[in-house]
């Protein structure tokens, strides 16, 4: 049976790991490498690493940085931030990324998605969508690290990304980001219903019950979290136990399997 993944998210800004609230008020949480080592030694299911300043500042991904991080990572690593070309993707894969996430560049150049999935395969390309709920209940997609309203409606854009071939959707609620008040179950559920590829819930996780809700109520295939793991005592292992108790299939640890 396929397991529901619990994915710590690492956000990089300039020189270190940060975590903000609503894609703002960034707070430093320390260097990346020790964080990756800890997550790796704890045998997490997967990691997402995103450079949140690259697209905003028009920078290319930092390939050397990714190379350093991937060296310490024995589980799948998804890298996002600043990707605008097939060359970027090829270089990131060479640097040790397993999947890449495209967000900002897809709005201006949706054909990049088709080119990327055609060349590297759907399974390698994650469509990342940052959404904000506007007055009147409409969910709009934002680019450039949540600073630009693209005017695209979220469910429709998710469907378009799926049609263009992405293998997964990483759906982040800007409103809930960093609040630890829970995922936006409503939009996750609507997107998960609209597409037949896996949807990763992101933005707002504050406790294990939030993760359970994202899976059981919204139909997420995976749950991502940052603040909850950075700033509270809760851990990916704890999340697994809680989810398992709620009847959700999670990956068992290889070592505990033997003993």
């Amino acid at each position: 049976m396929l397991k529901v993944r619990i994915i710590p998210t690492l956000l990089w800004k300039n020189f270190g790991l940060v975590k903000g609230i609503g894609f703002d008020s960034w707070r430093r949480v320390g260097p990346v490498l020790p964080a990756i080592k800890v997550y790796n030694s704890r045998d997490v299911d997967e990691l997402i690493f995103a450079d949140i300043t690259a697209s905003q500042q028009g920078n290319a991904p930092d390939f050397d940085l990714v190379s350093d991080f991937s060296e310490e990572c024995a589980v799948p690593l998804t890298v996002g931030g600043g990707i605008t070309s097939l060359d970027h993707i090829a270089s990131l894969l060479n640097a040790g990324a397993d999947k890449i996430a495209i967000n900002t560049a897809a709005y201006a150049n949706p054909k990049l998605i088709e080119a990327a999935t055609g060349h590297f395969g759907a399974q390698c390309v994650v469509g990342s969508i940052d959404v904000r709920k506007l007055d009147g209940g409409r969910y709009s997609c934002f680019s450039h690290s949540a600073t630009v309203d693209t005017g695209r409606e979220s469910v429709e854009w998710a469907r378009e990304l799926a049609d263009r071939g992405v293998g997964e959707i990483l759906l982040t609620s800007i409103d809930r980001d960093g609040t630890m008040l829970g995922y936006d179950v409503d939009i996750i559920e609507r997107v998960a219903r609209a597409v037949d590829i896996p949807v990763i819930a992101s933005g707002g996780a504050g406790n294990y019950q939030h993760m359970i809700d994202a899976v059981l109520k919204a139909g997420a295939s995976a749950v991502a979290a940052a603040s909850m793991f950075h700033f509270t005592e809760q851990t990916p292992a704890g999340a697994k136990s809680a989810m398992q108790a709620a009847g959700i299939p999670v990956r068992r640890n290889f070592v505990s399997n033997i003993h």
């Binding site: 396929l2 045998d43 991937s70 589980v75 799948p76 290889f254």
Partner: protein
């Protein structure tokens, strides 16, 4: 023990090389077919589409070299994900195309095999052994491995199927024919279980 990782322009080569280095193997990226001859083990990784992958193997002159070192010299080979799929006789991704033909069988999309769940099949899934193959030495049955794929291998000969996983339909998780191994999951990204499997492939002797 030297491991050659075939570099034909499709794949997460760095991840694969690091995984082998982690377990103490001397891994190198084979940039040219001639590089395969120095190796004790051959690894064919792969991320991408079947037709494109085969085209690159053909254009790069890899097909003849692989036939030589794997089929004639009998060096142990491990195909990972697309690398496993291309061991087949034929694949349907990106139009029907011929595979390497090292292990008779076909590669079809999961929904053509009866899967009605979300495709691609992404994440950790349990691998169930069909035989007691040395590839899974020291790894408990039903351990989780990391999968990410939309197509799957159906071997013509059931004996070549050594492990399966379940994703609404039965999916070939690992195959073996003589010195040729393939796994649909990514051992290089399957944490400790994956590292153990790569060790087993290097040792290549029954438990």
């Amino acid at each position: 023990m030297k491991v050659a990782i075939v570099s034909y322009g499709m794949g997460n080569l760095a991840s694969v090389r690091r995984a082998f280095e982690d377990i103490g193997a001397e891994a190198y990226i084979a940039a040219r077919p001639a590089d395969l001859y120095n190796a004790n083990r051959i690894v064919l990784p792969g991320v991408g589409a079947f037709a494109e992958g085969m085209k690159r193997l053909q254009d790069g002159g890899w097909v003849e070299a692989l036939q030589d070192v794997v089929m004639r010299q009998r060096k142990p080979m491990l195909g990972i994900c697309l690398g496993m799929q291309m061991l087949a006789s034929a694949g349907y991704e990106g139009g029907l195309s011929r595979g390497l033909g090292f292990v008779p069988g076909e590669v079809k999309r999961l929904d053509a095999l009866g899967c009605k769940l979300r495709i691609p099949h992404v994440g950790w899934n349990e691998v169930r052994y069909k035989t007691n193959d040395a590839l899974f030495c020291e790894i408990p049955d039903l351990s989780d491995f990391y999968f990410v794929h939309s197509f799957a291998f159906t071997p013509e000969n059931d004996e070549h199927l050594i492990a399966t996983t379940h994703y609404d339909c039965l999916v070939a998780a690992a195959i073996r024919k003589d010195n040729i191994y393939g796994c649909q999951f990514h051992p290089e990204k399957s944490s400790k279980a994956g590292r153990q499997l790569l060790k087993n492939f290097m040792v290549h002797s029954p438990c």
